[in-house]
Every structure is written in structure tokens, then in C-alpha cells.
Amino acid sequence: MTKGKKIAMYVFLILASFISVFPLYWMVCAATNTSADVLRGRIIPGGNLLVNVKNLFAAQDIGTALGNSFKYSIVLTLISLVICSLAGYGFEIYHDKAKDAVMSVILLAMMVPFVATMIPLFQMFSKAGWLNSTIGFILPTISTPFLIMMFRQSARSFPHDIIEAARIDGLSEIRIFFQMFMPTMRSTYAAAMTITFMNAWNNYLWPKVIMTNAKSVTMPMVVANLTQGYVTDYGMLMLAVLICTLPTAIVFFCLQKSFAEGITGAVK
């Protein structure tokens, strides 16, 4: 490769990285500045963080929203991983014609857009008394075709010899799953966990539909509410955005490596 081309490549990458990072950098800086400084275009961190924290917690019930978001997302992720991996394992390890047929029907559900099921789900859930509840938040997205497919794919690379050996040792089928499959497929679980937690945390449409009570709101809903008012304190607003972003960013960074490995397994 010529030197000119090489330089062009690096310039392109640096530009792409700058565009990707700058809005986030700006958000972090704005969270530490006064609203007036933000409007003046200050793009270095300031000393107003604690004042913004105080204002934000006075304006909105951040504690409740954060608690709810963590509760909904963690419960959903744990249940979802167990149910989807169990299903994916079941479809692959014990596969036969009937199960393959059921799997293709499940894959069809990937095409069903959420807006098409949202209204009946809302009617069903309000009749069942599940508005403003954790079960109402999690039930529609516990089992997703994407995750089942992902675990089915990874079960394909799980050696049958291990299963046979475990059976000879007298391990029951469910224990083979929990004691052999789960520990072996750590990277798939990490990828699935990242995806599920992020989707749950970031979900906005569904909680906006069913969380009608102020005590049940989630963090993204609070951020959206903050921009609805007339007077906007930009420092405070960006602090809320930052708080809303941190949990998913942390999960992502902790699991980044396994995430890439898990995705590789899923698209093979």
C-alpha cells in the first residue's frame, strides 16, 4: 500500500472515531458545566457537577427511576437467559423434524414488529392487572427468537461426546445442561447478556405504554420527561443522559471481548 493511501486510511479512521466519540465526550463535559457554560459552547469539563446532581435529584425522582430500571432489566436478563438457552439447547441437541418445524415458526416471530402486538398486549396486561409491574415489563421480551437462535447455533458446536460421557456417568439431562453446557458457553451467555440487558434498559416504547404510574417509571422515561418542560437546564439534562448511559456502557465494556466472540458464533 502506498504511503498516501495509508495516510488517507488513518485520516478516515480518526475522523470516524472522532465523530463517534465527540457527542459522548460533549455529553460528559456538559454534565459537569452550568447551563450557561454549555450554551456558550464550553467543551472542557467544569466544576458544576455537584450542583447539577442536586438540581436533578430535586427535579425528578432519579432514585426510583434508577431502581426500577435496574430491577426490570436484571430480572428480565436472568430469566431470559435461562429460558432462551434452555430452548436453544433443546432445539439443537434433541433435534428432529417436528422440533425443526417449530423452530422455523419461532423464527417467523422475528418478523412481527412490536407495534403490531403492542395494543393487544396492552389490553391483555391491563385486564390481568399487570400495568406498572415488573412482570408487565418483562413478559413480552423474555423469550426472543434471536436469543433462541443464538443459543441453538452455539449448541451446535457443543461436543456430543461430552453429553454421552456425562450420560454414562449418570448425570440427568437437566444437570448436563446446567453443569456442562452453561459453563462451556460462557462467551455466548456474555453476548446474550449484553444484548438483553441493553435492550431491556433502553426499552422506551413498552414502558411508556404500561408504566402509567409515576412510581414505576424507568430512566429513559425520566430523560424524555426532562426535555418536555419549557425551561431546560442543559447541564442537568446531560447529567441525566449520562446516568442513563453509564450502566449499559459499563456492561458493554466489561463484556466487550466475550460479546465479539459470542456474535461470531451466532453469525457463523
Binding site: 422506551y204 424524555a224 442543559y234 439534562l237
Partner: protein, 299 residues
Amino acid sequence: MSKPSMKLSLDKKHNLTGWIFLTPGALLILFMSFVPMIKALILSFKTGNGGALTWSDPIFRNYSQMFKDTVFIQSIKNTFFYLIIQVPIMLILALILASILNNRNLRFKGAFRTMIFLPCATSLVAYATVFRTLFANNGLVNLVLTKIGILSQPYSFLTHVWSARIIIVLALLWRWTGYNMVFYLSGLQNIEYSVYEAAKIDGASPMQTFFKITVPLLKPTILLTAIMSTNGTLQLFDESVNLTDGGPANASITMSHYIYNLSFKYVPKFGYAAAMSFLILILVAILAFVQMKVGDKRD
């Protein structure tokens, strides 16, 4: 003769175990996707406000009515504008970035990859709020543009029809390019690197390598990302609500946003909204089918 029968019963037992394992997941999908979908179809043939719904007369009234609904027509146009402009640009950009980052001699590869993927760690509401603030009348973009003299006075990006739509496209590109890039990078890792080295020895230009090796070998992944992005774009909601609020005057509203407004913002028109949502379902199915056909053809 006891051995074969024991094997048979063991097979039966395993078969049953498989069914037990997959039942919770399968039942949840049945009751959370397929049952509501059928309920939505039935609902789409009913009319009325709030809870009191009756069969519409004629039965397709909701469907014929929605094609006379100017806001709905506008929302279809907007959604397809986002789809046709944003998805190809994003996928091409992601492919280019991935093939550059796949180069073994590149330095700081990990740092570049992490930075470009970083936007995916943000929540949709969060990044929409950041973009809304950056492009506001008194936001940073206007400040910079007026300071360096490109604009004489702040331009109201979010209240002009085309700039509002283009900002949604820019925001989507920012959020999702890195996400698709990761899929391509994973796909590229499955391609033997020696293929690239052989091409280099044979004197293939980077352009030729890209079109003759990378694109054909990544076809399944490209198909997957194309279907996922199409599906996602047809369901756009968060950006429309939080970035432009569908405005100015519904000029940037998406189909999902309009359906939400009809169902939950004003007096609920569940039947009418369900008919629209069913149209989206049909659109998603048709587009996925077309993409799969096109994806198959080049083999």
C-alpha cells in the same frame, strides 16, 4: 432383545426432554407474539373510541380510511425515506470500516474499533436527547457554524422539514454504523486471512479485493444486517419522539410514532391503530422476503 427396546425408550425420553426444554420459550413466543398478532388482526376490523368497539362497516373501513389519512401517508413516506437513504449508507460505511479494521498491519486497531462501536452503548432516548441539544437553535452546531461564518444567524434545524429529516438520518448513522461493523468484523474473522494475502500477491487492488472477496464472502452477514436494519427502521420510534417530536407538523413522524399517538396520546382509536400496525407487519414480511430472494440469487 431388551437392548433395542431400552434404546428406543431412551430415545423417547430424550425426545421428551427436548420438548420440555423448549416449551417455556416456545409458549412465551406463542402468547406474546402470535396470539397478540391475531388479536391485532381482529381488532383492525373494529371501530370506535376507547373501550367500546364494534365491527366496522364495511369490514375494511379502517384499511380504506388510512390511505386517506394524510398524516399516515406522510409517516409512510418518512419511514421509507429513512430506510432508503440511511440503511444503504450505513451498511456500506460499516463494511468499509470493517474491511479497513481487518487489516493486520493496522495500528491501534482495538482503540479504533472500540471508539467506533462506542455509540451503541448509549440508550436511544439518551442519544436522541444529545443530538436534539447539539442541533438546537442555541446548540453547539449552530454556535460553531455562526462563529466560523458559514451561517450568519442560527438555523433552526429541527423546525425545518428537510433538515429535521436529515438530522434523524445522521443520528441513526451515528448510533448504528458501529453496531453493524461488529457483525462484519466477526464475519471477516471467519474468512481465512491467507485469501487476502494471496490476492495481494496476485496484484489485486484494495478495491478489487473488497468487491471480489470481502463482499461475496460476507453475503450471509450482509443479508442478516440488511434484514435487521430494515426491520428496525420500519419500527423507528424513540428518535422520532425524542429528537424531533415528529415535527415540524408531522414532517418527520414515523409510522410507529403515529400509531402510538393514535393509541395512547389522544382518545384511543385501537381498531384504526391496529390496522396500521398490521400494515407494518405486512411490509416487514414483504421486504424480508424480497431481501432473502435477492440474497439467494447471486449464488
